[in-house]
């Protein structure tokens, strides 16, 4: 446990000594404010909920989370520090989890700093704060899933641009695969079971149900398994690189 925390702290310090964390947090706050109030018409809706806030998160994270995660392993490989890190007395999975937690902490800080909107909606009306809490939990789970995917793609290449683009593409697929135009495309030639299976991989359905305040174990299990699968694949990729 201790090596994980030491690595996570090192990574987190790295995020905040470089401008990366500040840029990500500020851009996230500006964009989520703009999308909620201007595009999402928060005030005009006249509803005491944060649907117009959380609804944008899958799309916001689509760009911002891969930007946080793209350097996770590609930078280690580019600098050669991976050789240093993995010859220290630490198991590779501990390093993978430590780095993942540090990047997740940056996203959690960004998300936590949106607290004024909770105060605003409570000041203006009487929202169901349980639903809002569900929204935050769902949002963090969504960010974890995207981040784990970015960790995986960053292990594939030392080129951060490739790492970014590939993880955006995978995350985009996870958003779209439950969307009607995509499922309709499949309906014509695939059996309903296949269509359902593909659609169930969509982060949207799982995110939306948590966002409604329904904490279903199936949704939770979905996000947790995406994270575990992606981080496990990261370790396989890192080992494959070294095995030559």
């Amino acid at each position: 446990m201790k090596p994980i925390l030491i690595i996570a702290r090192r990574e987190l310090t790295g995020f905040f000594t470089s401008p990366v964390a500040y840029v990500i947090i500020i851009i996230f706050l500006i964009l989520s404010g703009f999308l909620t109030f201007m595009v999402g018409a928060f005030f005009e809706r006249g509803q005491a909920n944060l649907d117009s806030f959380f609804g944008w998160h899958p799309w916001l994270y689509l760009i911002l989370v891969p930007a946080v995660g793209m350097r996770m392993w590609s930078e280690e490989r580019r600098l050669g520090t991976i050789e240093l890190l993995l010859t220290l007395p630490v198991a590779p999975w501990q390093a993978i989890v430590g780095k993942f937690l540090a990047a997740l902490a940056v996203l959690a800080i960004a998300l936590a700093l949106t607290f004024p909107i909770v105060i605003t909606v409570n000041y203006l009306g009487h929202p169901d704060n349980g639903v809002i809490l569900g929204g935050y939990i769902g949002s963090l789970l969504l960010a974890s899933a995207y981040l784990a995917i970015s960790a995986m793609t960053s292990a594939v290449t030392r080129n951060q641009v490739i790492s970014f683009i590939v993880s955006v593409a995978i995350c985009l697929f996870l958003i779209l695969c439950g969307w009607a135009p995509v499922t309709n495309l499949l309906v014509h030639w695939a059996s309903p079971a296949v269509v359902d299976a593909v659609a169930s991989f969509s982060v949207m359905t799982h995110f939306e149900s948590i966002q409604r305040g329904v904490l279903d174990t199936r949704d939770l299990l979905f996000f947790v398994s995406v994270v575990v699968f992606s981080l496990f694949t990261t370790s396989v990729i890192l080992r494959a690189h070294r095995a030559g």
């Binding site: 090596p3 030491i6 690595i7 090192r10 310090t13 790295g14 000594t17 470089s18 600098l79 050669g80 520090t81 050789e83 240093l84 993995l86 010859t87 220290l88 007395p89 630490v90 198991a91 080992r239 070294r242 095995a243 030559g244």
Partner: protein, 311 residues
Amino acid sequence: MIQVRNLSKNFGPKWAVNNISLDVAKGEVLGFLGPNGAGKSTTMRMITGFLPPASGEIRVGGHDMLAEPIAGKRLIGYLPEHAPAYTDMTVTGFLRFCAEMRGLGGDAKRRAVSRVIETCFLESVTHQSVETLSKGYRHRLCFAQAILHDPEVLIMDEPTDGLDPNQKHEVRTIIREMGARKAIIFSTHILEEVEAVCSRAIIIDRGAIVANGTPQELKARGAGAGAVTVRFAAVPGGAVAALEQLDGVEKVSVIGKEPLAARVFPKAGKKDLGTAIFELAAREQWKLADLHAEEGRLDEVFRAITLPDTK
């Protein structure tokens, strides 16, 4: 401390390391020599547990590096090639991080960090960012990281690469001092370094060990080993012919005309040629300016062993 048995490693169809076995005991400094791409770095990366071998066995301090890598890694200090370090940290920050990862905390951590800062002459850059360090400083920082926990086994991939002559000398002095208490392996391209620091040297070429011995033993394998150089103060007539007729002389090559100088090569197994030449000169009353026997040169040995393969 280090036992390597039948170690092999391939990258695709190419065998980078082919069936290498070696032992390094405590108090030994092993120099790793070889042309570029011979498999030096790959071997070191396998011993330190970074690369998994294709086959073979590695034991460090009795720990099997494949079965219990973390116990083995605790004993090892490693300086990778090109001295990597996290560029987003300060020098002290980086050393503190490495100390914590080595399980040092509190007072022990502070003492270890300040000790290596002193040993590696890093005082002037302690608060500087690693990104802005010159190559020499970054190399010494990475070296500092390797000796932070006073490891029993020290493995260094080209520790003096990119350093200026003074820094090279400092690093060699440190390695030699530590050699008495640790098992050390280091690779280098600089042959004088091997003579200055190592108690044993291994030459590796195309993934296999081609020579293994003390620097003196290796030098004795050179073509020039045992040859005697004679410089005359005057030019005595018939000296070359007289030298050639001396017992045990293989051939004489003239290397200077005015005044005469020659290299006398002995027949295989013949020693003490210098004494015979001295006695001959005394009989003939030649005036000698210089007479010395050559130990053989490591670079000649290195070329003789590795050149045929690179062609």
